[in-house]
Amino acid sequence: MASQHGTPPVFSNKLVAWIDHRLPIFSYIEKEYHTFPMPRNVNYFWNFGAIATILLVLMIATGVVLATNYTAHVDFAFQSVERIDRDVAQGWLIRDLHMNGASFFFIAVYIHMFRGLYYGSYKAPRELLWILGVVILLLLMATAFMGYVLPWGQMSFWGATVITNLFSAIPVVGPSIVEWLWGGFAVENPTLNRFFALHYLLPFVIVGVVALHVVALHQHGSNNPLGIDPKGPQDTVPFHPYLTMKDGFGVMVFLLVFCAFVFFAPDYLGHPDNYVKADPLVTPPHIVPEWYFLPFYAILRAVPDKLGGVIAMFAAIAVLFILPWLDTSRVKSCTFRPIYKWFVFVLLIDCVILGFCGANPAEGFWVPLSQVATAYYFFHFLILLPVLGKIERPLPLPHSIADAVLKKKAG
């Protein structure tokens, strides 16, 4: 499909032509980001891949600058972050961009994933594309978790303690694994050092997996709101200028909201306890992870057994790996799935409920509520999805993208 727009480009600039003959970067950009055929009907939900990419660049840029002023030592880490906030020139801005950038990265990624869920973007032939996406999510979670430890506040310390202790649930070798992760007998200086090293490394691993994600995407091209393949040039538009402009506009709107937080409410998404220096002898009465981990935290606490809770939490992500094979419906887009389309929204609401459960103490009605919501989460993927695909009667699919788009315009 990518080749349908014809012959390799001829470059009029001699230097460009000379380079391209030896290192075809210009041909590559031409093919993948200029003439690359995009379905003509993609909507604004298709912006979030580009938005996430921009945020990845932003996080690496701000992160490298922050690292020049950060000290990864238990005695100095908290001070050095405060110094970045107060004394370092524009340090407050770089830090607030980085801190809120993490949250908005997750916002973009979660919207990107729900887009995929609703329009069936994970189905053949895009299974590996989806799986690479889940790998990126896992790497992102690991990176965000370790980054949150670096300021060495109370939430940093106790978040690190609780999350690393998850591995102690593994029978027999669990405690040894936890000491191996810590490099000691508690979260201490060796832990902080290695988290900093890995927090610096993993974003570049993410860049690598994102590259594979894009290669897999461009193999069969983007899915679209109708979930049917483009049949020819009448169904597509070239990536440039149509999608560069549309993505650019979406990025601007997204960054506008992002900047509103950075400049007017930089700590809104954080937790005040993290402005208290880590104290290994005092656990804050109510510890919570960052908002983007809350649904998974609720699943962890919903199971009244240590190992069971840990397994359920990891299973909540693991189930996404097999999603392409759990969905038995042959129709991709929920536009043509009259029953399932509502259940995608029910799942969304379920995840929000889990988020609230994770944010509140595990007591009173939050406990049964998180248990019901956890059960529903797994019910959706493991039972509803396979069964509904068999019994649901999809609406008739349009003949082509052009057909559907032009009919809609005419009618």
Partner: protein
């Protein structure tokens, strides 16, 4: 059997080349594992961290019913001088009813039942339970309460209710004298 017209080694008979492939492959795997090991082991606690530091604590100022927290190997250690009622309550529990059955007598030194020494780390996910300071919540069983995920420990530091799987750990310690405890 191999007919004379087929080359030796066809039909699954191993040849010298097959043997060399397997042998060198196995050697390569061993080499890769041996090379990986220093990198993995490097992350384990270093010798200075491992050197089992001990702390000595003077407990002479501790009144009955009071408790203190000291730091040992980066972790809090609770030392509680229990009241007679607390000791009685801890001893009265049938061990068969406990999630992690252990008699109170097995968790204290002989003739020192008044003194309870525990690693103050919840066996669930590692938070420090409340109950060592006066005015703290002590949970439903008068011992400690972990606010993170709601584990209740009794006056012997045994898990009674909540997600924690095990009793609070008793560290290695000894009474050097009546008022001096060496932990570690």
């Amino acid at each position: 059997m191999v007919s004379s017209s087929t080359p030796a080694g066809a039909h699954g008979d191993p040849t010298r080349r097959d043997f060399l492939m397997v042998a060198s492959g196995a050697m390569g795997a061993v080499g890769a594992a041996a090379t990986a090991w220093p990198f993995i082991n490097n992350l384990n606690p270093a010798a200075d961290t491992l050197a089992l530091a001990s702390v000595e604590v003077n407990v002479s100022s501790l009144q009955v019913g009071q408790a203190i927290t000291v730091k040992w190997r980066g972790k809090p250690v609770f030392i509680r001088r229990r009241t007679a009622d607390e000791v009685k309550a801890a001893a009265a529990v049938k061990t068969s009813e406990l999630p992690d059955p252990q008699a109170d007598s097995a968790r204290v030194k002989k003739d020192k039942a008044e003194w309870l020494v525990l690693v103050g780390v919840c066996t669930h996910l590692g938070c420090v339970p409340m109950g060592n300071k006066s005015g703290d919540l002590k949970g439903n069983f008068g011992g400690w309460f972990c606010p993170c995920h709601g584990s209740h420990y009794d006056t012997s530091g045994r898990i009674r209710k909540g997600p924690a799987p095990k009793n609070l750990e008793v560290p290695p310690y000894q009474f050097v004298s009546d008022t001096l405890v060496r932990i570690g």
